[in-house]
Symmetry: C2
Subunit: 373 residues, 2 copies
């Protein structure tokens, strides 16, 4: 039975708390699960041109079978959709469908769609119901948990958005079979991240079982559920990112800077790959600052190599800006507090911490060494 | 002493609670009041081309004297500024000033600027600090209290926005002397509204003392403070407008429809005037539905006439759409719940209530009668 294999992770946020269901066949059950929690709603489904042909008919059929009328809003695929222009388009189409505050916006797609649709749901009528149906591994383990939404601007990634918790997340692990190897690997970087932050046993599990996670089956469901649990615990402690939640940014400060440096060109670097390189750099930088053993950095690098993820700046194809320019991207990243550089560093595998007042000069000389490759 | 005349209204919203200061000379004290509550911040001041020449230099000087560096963002005046385009402009300029999450966005202006700047503060870095310096009577008694922000779209007014509570509101009653008579009167409609909702003694006070409220002095401070107190009490009971807060929409369902019908052309009808006509219509419609005495409707109309506010649809200059079209505007207004029309109706002066399931046919025939004038 498909239902037997469904795991439920509860995100404990009081009256904003919600369930994440993880398992097989959830797309087909979406209508019933939503109708049980939000009786009588109508829906807008925000999705993209890649996901729509694969999953939209099944999702609409599932909703209609549960009596939920749904208006599809299909946007272009890719990071560039996280813009003011497409936010406005999504908002206009939700309003044109005459949805009310009690109706639901469903995000069916990867992180881009989740971030954009969640932002739209958060601002139409000052907040509608929101449900996530994440279709990428990255979205299932990261962006669908925690309520952060947003768009990019010329000043940087994710600098504009709201906190908008979903009412339900349906992570159908079967839909991941339609992803390319590269997409799956990129999402896997975030899975490994949870082990590296504070779950050393989980990282060891992944070192042993990553092939089965990639292949599908119980190890995949277990790894996704453990990732959601890890993120949900941090989010429950710190919903609005005033403290501990910053740990989730492991690898993201370097990663975002590299994404910006490549002009968010997904053919060169996608988000998860940036995070992979960023995690390797964070561990290597921690070793350089005598916070952790170089052996731990080497272990992280070895695992990234094993699964086929990039781990060095030189793994990125094409030209990159110099170290000074990269530091500028880091300084404009949102994880800056009153001018001091804040990084997630580590004392070893699963022992990350928030390092404030990291000297820019140390980061600069570190970047100079690593831009050589 | 100016300080002696300052009234403080506390908005009780737990950790999102804040003070509204009402009185003379508050613009000159803005820097000190903000620095006392938000030490070490930098600021962006969002204002408009009308307000900037009158008040911006004094506000910047006050901030600088308190050690707060401020970047002014001056937008065109008028309702059309409440758009996606100007939201994006404000957001871009706040980011260009490199303000961080702990810095502050100050809205110095009327309701348009407050709604737009509050929306921007709510979405830049997923929520910055926000301070209101309302410069119109309408903004002092209405939009600066309660945390609603938003913009207009082709689908209607205020359909897109967030709830973003300010950290502080500084209502300098002296700045109201720079308003035109028409602007002051439009704001006064909202003052009278609080009496009509649930404060019959306050409405009687206004009937006796409205001339002194218009002239300035203690009656003005008292009326503004009572209005803020009235709104703050409703907001504290129902921050996210799931119940009682809808009472504040007295006059607004008809009013918004009339504003939409005039294409938001302020030369024909400004918001407060729409609310004035809307309140008169709500009382007259309540009488027609045998909920209240026609004498109460007549008393409301007489007060609006006395202060020089419009009270009939025929007081609006120019052509208006027919009753069916107006009903269409009402149906698209955000105070619609699952297709049923919701209005704020009354059982008498100060006895308003939320009427759900008002038959559209009754509204339509009522509008037909009143469009004749």
């Amino acid at each position: 039975m498909a239902a037997e294999r469904t795991e439920t992770v509860k995100v404990a946020l009081g009256e904003r708390g919600y369930d994440i269901l993880i398992g097989h066949g959830l797309l087909a059950r979406a209508g019933a699960e939503i109708a049980a929690r939000l009786p009588g709603v109508r829906a807008a489904i925000v999705t993209d041109e890649n996901v729509a042909p694969r999953h939209l008919p099944a999702l609409i059929a599932s909703l209609e079978a549960a009596g939920i009328a749904a208006t599809p809003i299909v946007l272009p695929a890719g990071e560039k959709t996280k813009s003011f222009a497409f936010l406005q388009e999504a908002v206009d189409k939700i309003l044109a469908a005459r949805l009310e505050r009690g109706d639901v916006v469903i995000a069916a797609g990867g992180g881009v769609i989740g971030d954009l649709a969640g932002f739209a749901a958060g601002i139409v009528r000052r907040g509608m119901n929101f449900v996530q149906v994440p279709t990428s591994l990255l979205a299932q383990v990261d962006s669908s948990v925690g309520g952060k939404t947003g768009i990019n601007t010329a000043h940087g990634k994710n600098l504009v958005g709201v906190f908008q918790q979903p009412r339900l997340v349906l992570a159908d692990t079967d839909v991941l079979d339609t992803l390319s190897e590269r997409e799956f690997r990129a999402g896997y970087a975030e899975v490994a991240k949870y082990g590296l932050i504070d779950r050393p046993e989980f990282f060891a599990f992944l070192e042993r079982n990553w092939r089965e996670v990639f292949a599908g089956g119980p190890a995949r469901v277990a790894a996704i559920a453990e990732s959601c649990r890890a993120k949900a615990e941090v989010v429950a402690r710190d919903e609005f990112e005033t403290g501990d939640r910053a740990l989730l940014n492991l690898g993201h400060t370097f990663g975002h800077a590299l994404e910006a440096a490549t002009g968010y060109d997904g053919s060169r670097l996608v988000h998860g790959e940036g995070v992979a390189i960023g995690m390797a750099l964070a561990h290597r930088f921690s070793a350089r600052m005598n916070l952790a053993s170089p052996d731990d950095a080497a272990r992280v690098e070895a695992h990234l190599v094993a699964v086929g993820l990039p781990w060095r700046v030189s793994d990125i194809p094409g030209e990159l800006p110099d170290a000074e320019r990269l530091l500028g991207y880091i300084a404009q990243d949102k994880k800056v507090s009153r001018g001091a550089l804040t990084f997630i560093l580590t004392r070893g595998i699963g022992r990350c911490f928030i390092a404030r007042d990291v000297p820019a000069s140390e980061v600069l000389s570190f970047l100079r060494e690593h831009l050589g490759g």
